[in-house]
């Protein structure tokens, strides 16, 4: 019998760590070759880790939500014949030039099995320590653990039939005032019901009497703790970076899209069967591309650490897309080289791929400017958050018919706002205005979008 160790593979260019999001196997489970063992998630995509061997899973080196350095051992499988490790080897992350493994990650995987048998708790912690994320000294995995712990604290939701946790004095008092503790959520450690909890129920009066069963409104003191892991954590990180670093300026103007809507309706009416239905989006993309031709600083990535703005020739437009798991941004690459129809087609394809999770990593990265559109839900004005390290984001608000004064009378026009944010460190307000006014001009007179100058 040998031990086969699987290390976290290099899941993509420049990726030094990944978050474990799912285990498909249990310790002690028999594994066949090519069976998917786990899924990890990088900044860009979810990657499945298949087994190259057949055997029995003997060790899972990380828990869900833990961030693991590339090259860290994450799975050990007992196999017939010789393994690739005796479990005692020192596992060094593969590409140490990029990954810079901390010294302690090299320290003690060998000790784990021994320590594990004697003191399960200690070993659980050392596993966390060993797979510490490469980047900083912070240990999200540990934090996650402790937050999970406190989740246990605050959550009132006891398992069904589990008796409430309360001191004898609290129990006595509750009984005296007619509160059934089984209906009370505890705010204390491990959901312990405190005198304060009883005070609160009493203060709220009889109609909410802590589930006294007399009908009426009942205070819901339940707190559901949702661990921020996986995609949600990525989004949170990305948003935090944007807020921390970028100084945004948001510019809103209204666009008269009456002519554009007429054109779009005509095109959709006469479109060939294989052609997709056109939405507003591909027209906006083409208008942006045209405007970028005059204001190339809008289509750029700002590397604020080295102090360089990378202006891109190609326009890679990210399209913020809501998926069941959360917000992701698939990218229409080289939109400048696509027709309106092709743009529409690509947006449709990517949105579908994003929603069903089949989008590839390169389809979810590399944007140079982003569009965010909530369609009919778009509201009047939004304040879009810039997709760091980009410098511009164009937000589409809902279209509505408004009465517009044409100089002699009010006429009904289809009006839509664009709410756009720019990184004010790089883009001046004047340029924001120029950019949006140019897009406005193009959308209001859509033929111009397609006229080469």
């Amino acid at each position: 019998m040998g031990l086969y160790t699987i290390k976290l593979p290099d899941v993509g260019e420049g990726v030094a760590e990944a978050e474990l999001v799912e285990w498909m196997v249990e310790e002690g489970q028999a594994i066949v070759e090519d069976q998917v063992l786990a899924a990890v998630m990088t900044d860009k995509a979810t990657v499945e880790i298949p087994s190259p061997v057949e055997g029995v899973l003997s060790w899972r080196g990380a828990s869900i939500g833990e961030v693991i350095a590339v090259g860290s051992p994450i799975i050990r499988i007992e196999i017939d014949g010789e393994g690739n490790s005796d479990g005692l080897d020192v596992d060094t992350p593969a590409n140490n030039s990029d990954a810079k493994p901390p010294q302690d990650s090299v320290k003690s995987p060998a000790e784990q099995p021994a320590a594990g048998s004697a003191q399960p708790l200690v070993s659980a912690q050392s596993v966390v320590g060993d797979n510490k994320p490469v980047s900083k000294s912070s240990t999200p995995a540990n934090e996650f653990k402790s937050s999970k712990m406190s989740a246990g604290n605050a959550v009132a939701a006891r398992a069904e039939g589990e008796s409430p946790l309360a001191s004898p004095a609290v129990r006595l008092r509750a009984r005296n005032v007619g509160i059934d503790l089984r209906m009370v959520a505890g705010s204390g450690p491990a959901g312990r019901i405190t005198h304060d909890d009883i005070d609160q129920i009493i203060a709220k009066g009889p109609q909410s009497g802590g589930g006294s069963g007399r009908g009426g409104l009942v205070a819901n003191t339940q707190i559901t703790d949702v661990p921020v892991i996986g995609l949600r954590r990525k989004i949170a990180q990305q948003m935090s970076i944007a807020k921390e670093r970028i100084v945004p300026i948001t510019y809103v103007d209204e666009i008269d899209v009456t002519a554009l809507e007429e054109l779009r309706a005509r095109l959709n009416k006469n479109k060939k069967d294989h052609q997709p239905k056109l939405t507003m989006l591909p027209f906006l993309m083409k208008a942006m591309i045209k405007a970028i031709g005059e204001l190339p600083q809008m289509n750029a990535l700002y590397d604020d650490e080295t102090g360089v703005v990378h202006q891109y020739g190609g326009v890679h437009i990210g399209v913020a897309t809501q998926t069941p798991n959360g917000l992701i941004v698939p990218v229409v690459r080289h939109a400048e080289a696509r027709t309106v129809w092709e743009c529409a087609e690509e947006v449709l394809r990517l949105a579908q791929a994003a929603r069903d999770g089949s989008a590839r990593r390169d389809e979810l990265s590399g944007s140079t400017i982003t569009i965010t559109s909530l369609g009919a839900m778009g509201g009047l004005v939004t304040t879009p958050v810039i997709n760091h390290p980009e410098v511009s984001i164009i937000g589409v608000n809902k279209m509505q018919v408004r009465a517009i004064w044409d100089g002699t009378q009010f006429i009904p026009r289809k009006i839509m706002n664009l709410s756009s944010s720019f990184d004010h460190r790089i883009i001046d307000g004047w340029d924001c205005a120029l950019f949006i006014q140019r897009i406005k001009g193009l959308l209001e007179s859509p033929a111009e979008i397609f006229i080469d100058e």
């Binding site: 003191q119 399960p120 708790l121 200690v122 912690q125 712990m149 246990g152 604290n153 008796s163 946790l165 309360a166 001191s167 004898p168 129990r171 009984r175 005296n176 007619g178 204390g188 450690p189 491990a190 959901g191 312990r192």
Partner: protein, 464 residues
């Protein structure tokens, strides 16, 4: 004698009964308590208290004899003697003082005490036979607190050399050969005491372990000490009866072979049974739960106004459970809204070393479906234990893995009985491991082992 009326009649003045009566009296309930013996029940008269007195005698004598050839700690004593009659008289003195104490407390609470045997006429009427004649008592409420009696083996009735725990508390001299049938806590407590007083003790247990309700880790230090005391422990062995001369106990080993054990006294401690016979309890037709009176969370029986508390209601047959039930039941009768919501009834074996259990053992917790973490701290690593020559044993904590709420605490070691209070308090208050680990436990005490056990379960004990 004149008939009497009262609001509450308590039958049995053991710990449960007298606690109920005192509390009822305090609450202004017109209460009568009936018992044929002095107040205090089994516990005070022939149980907890006298046995602990005798164990103390045995410990002191053992110390003295132990010092006969000098000792590690530099003391030597010669000519230690024991006068068991005097010891028993001293013990009886304590019992008498406590009888009077309980009597005084009942008086203070204005509870009327009647010495006599009660018999049910119906659920509201009882006939009491006293020395002065029969007396009929009518009442609104009755608490049945008749306790339990030792189980007698049909082939070893309590007569001649065969004694119950009661008999073992009043021997005139230390028997030369003392055989204990039943390796539960009572048998072991008495066996160890007599071994320390110089008897040659043999313990006969039908099960594979002594103290079979506890896990072997807890009982091992006791077993070790038994060996050290020269006590013969025969496991997997059944008592069959006395020989004709009544000088030997015949036992059957696991392999079916019969053996005869020299026995001047045979103590039979094979358990206790609910005392439900002889007072026309069956006439009330109460719902039973096996041999016990069935009660609900308010200690109510199936008959309105009839309550039952203590050993007669089943396991655990422990005085402190009965006291808690008694106090609660009196309040319920007075109209206070109470219900049995105790999280833990601790239990102690006053063996050497002592064993304390509170809440769930690791095995029980797992069986109850909990995902647990557990660890123990040995007294070997506790300074105070060393200074008392009590290094055997440990304290163990069982907690839920998810939120670290403590489910059970067990301890074995010299003097751990006194730690039971903090064990129960921790569980009753819903403590988590962190609560115990973060509470300063005074140094140097054995209680530090409790804190360390919590820390060790959390993975960071300091002193090991």
């Amino acid at each position: 004698m004149k008939d009497q009326n009262c609001s509450l009649l308590v039958i049995g003045a053991g710990p449960g009964g007298y606690a109920a009566a005192i509390r009822a009296g305090q609450l202004g309930i017109d209460t009568i308590i009936v018992d044929k013996q002095k107040p205090g029940g089994t516990c005070l008269n022939v149980g907890c208290i006298p046995s602990k007195a005798l164990i103390h005698v045995a410990d002191e004598f053992y110390k003295a004899t132990h010092f006969a050839n000098g000792s590690d700690i530099g003391i030597s004593v010669s000519g230690a003697k024991i006068d068991l009659q005097k010891s028993v008289a001293w013990k009886d003195g304590i019992v008498k003082r406590l009888n009077q104490g309980v009597s005084g407390l009942l008086k203070k609470s204005k509870v009327q005490q009647i010495e006599g045997t009660a018999k049910f006429i119906d659920g509201k009427t009882v006939l009491v036979e006293t020395n002065e004649g029969e007396q009929r008592i009518s009442c609104k409420n009755i608490i049945i607190a008749t306790g339990s009696v030792p189980v007698e083996l049909p082939f070893l009735p309590f007569e001649g050399p065969v004694i119950s725990s009661t008999g073992a508390l009043s021997l005139g001299e230390v028997p030369e050969n003392f055989v204990v049938v039943g390796g539960g806590y009572i048998g072991l407590e008495m066996g160890i005491a007599y071994a320390k007083m110089g008897a040659k003790v043999t313990i006969v247990e039908a099960a594979k372990n002594i103290l079979p309700q506890y896990d072997t880790a807890l009982t091992k230090p006791v077993l070790t000490k038994l060996k050290k005391l020269g006590v013969t422990v025969m496991l997997d062995t059944k008592a069959k009866g006395l020989n004709e001369k009544q000088t030997k106990l015949v036992v059957e080993r696991a392999n079916g072979e019969l053996e005869k054990l020299q026995a001047d006294k045979v103590l039979v401690t094979v358990g206790r049974k609910a005392n439900t016979k002889g007072f026309n309890l069956e006439g009330l037709m109460l719902d039973m739960e096996g041999p016990f009176i069935k009660i609900n969370q308010k200690c109510q029986t199936s008959m309105n106004g009839v309550y039952a508390i203590g050993d007669v209601t089943g396991d655990p047959m422990l005085a402190h459970r009965a006291i808690a039930q008694g106090e609660m039941t009196a309040e319920i009768i007075s109209g206070i809204n109470r219900e049995w919501d105790k999280q833990v009834v601790p239990a102690i074996c006053f063996t050497d070393p002592e064993v304390v259990v509170a809440g769930l053992s690791p095995g029980e917790a797992k069986q109850a479906g909990f995902d647990i973490i557990t660890n123990e701290f040995p007294f070997m690593a506790n300074g105070r234990a060393m200074t008392m020559e009590a290094e055997e044993g440990f304290i163990r904590i069982v907690a839920r893995a998810d939120n670290h709420v403590v489910l059970g605490i067990q301890g074995v070691g010299g003097g751990v009985a006194e730690l039971s209070a903090s064990f129960s308090l921790a569980i009753e208050m819903g403590a988590r491991l962190e609560d115990i680990a973060s509470t300063i436990h005074a140094h140097p005490t054995q209680s530090e082992a409790f804190q360390e056990a919590a820390m060790r379960t959390l993975g960071h004990a300091l002193h090991i």
